[in-house]
Symmetry: C2
Subunit: 220 residues, 2 copies
């Protein structure tokens, strides 16, 4: 597959001078990851910046006790700065990025990254904005986990995962990981939702029946 001019896809590269973009096209490598593949993790810290051309990467954290929580998702057109962060901080962390769909990414080596940050204000702005967005995502997660009700959070989660689709293919355990809680909790809340006619479920599947009520629950 030929990507064509991927520099057209990103805020941070679109407005660069033609000469710089040509240099980028030459310097960067394209990578593909199949669904379910670990893109980065504690043992696998890439020393480069990742641009996501297509697909979704789910970034989650695993606690000592083995429980997971989803931190955020990197979508096409965004870059994944967490790896860079951890690389620079040289501290232990246990976040992991998983290809949630088939993923096409462009990898920019550290040296080129450095040079771009130094020389191109537009790129610099892009990188800082990417950091900032993640910081704010994490603030949101903290707020939810510390102060949010589980039913409200689950309603939000279902709506977000479904997007426009009528149903979601997922297990209770996966939903529990989204919210950083236990499977049993999800099972009970989903049963409650079902009794109230908000959803229908069968093995590995949740159908959104009454979006309006879910929405109402999600904002409360």
């Amino acid at each position: 597959m030929n990507l064509g001019d991927w520099t057209e896809l990103f805020q941070g590269t679109r407005s660069l001078p033609r000469s710089v973009r040509d240099r980028l096209l030459a310097a960067a490598r394209t990578l593909k990851y199949p669904t379910g593949r670990v893109v980065f993790g504690p043992d696998n810290v890439p020393d480069s910046l990742l641009f996501l051309v297509d697909g979704t990467i789910r970034v989650s954290q695993t606690s000592e006790s083995g429980r997971d929580i989803v931190l955020y998702r990197v979508e096409a057109g965004e870059s994944c700065v967490l790896t860079t962060a951890c690389m620079l901080a040289e501290e232990a962390y246990n976040a992991e990025g998983l290809a949630e769909t088939d993923v096409v990414a462009v990898v920019l080596p550290r040296s080129d990254f450095d040079r771009l940050v130094a020389e191109e204000p537009a790129f610099r702005t892009f990188v800082f904005a990417a950091y900032s967005r993640r910081l704010i995502d994490l603030l949101r997660v903290i707020d939810d986990v510390a102060f949010g009700r589980i039913d409200v959070r689950l309603a939000q989660c279902l709506l977000a995962l479904a997007k426009d689709a009528r149903e979601i293919l997922t297990t209770h355990q996966q939903l529990a990981t989204e919210l950083g809680t236990a499977r049993e909790v999800i099972s009970r809340v989903l049963q409650d939702f079902q009794k109230r006619g908000l959803i229908a479920q069968s093995r590995g599947r949740v159908a959104l029946i009454d979006r309006a009520k879910l929405q109402a629950l999600a904002v409360s």
Copy 2:
């Protein structure tokens, strides 16, 4: 008060060329905040980078329901990048920085910040490292809030707040804010600690009696 050459105090400025440092000394302003003063907040977003010369800034987040949680502290020798982050992301957030002691800070205007990031690799590294450290701090908070036991977290918190001191001057409510929980919860756990001989307390004061046991609890 004359700060002298504050560029000596920071990783990111210490190794800069003399000429650049002189320019910094000329460009930056020194600010002081008394204890308890709000350094930044939702209505008060500075468009500059803050270098903390002396004191401590406590950064916390307030939920819609009015409950607080402490995210991290900025100590002398560090810079506060969250404000920069929020400025760049142009998104709503509700973090606030409070001077926990009297604070002396150097404020570097946006334009000088930009130029330094562009021209000085050492400064660039410093800034990215600062971002990274905060990201990792937040990951830690998420892990604690989502998966940590409250007694363990409180033990950690007490040890961290006390440092070398034998006692801490703080209310149960303040401790609750540290951990993002309710005052009653702290009251009960502290009573339990007291019964077990780990601490002694009186109004507005917690004395660490058995550090070894607290430490043991903190790591579990």
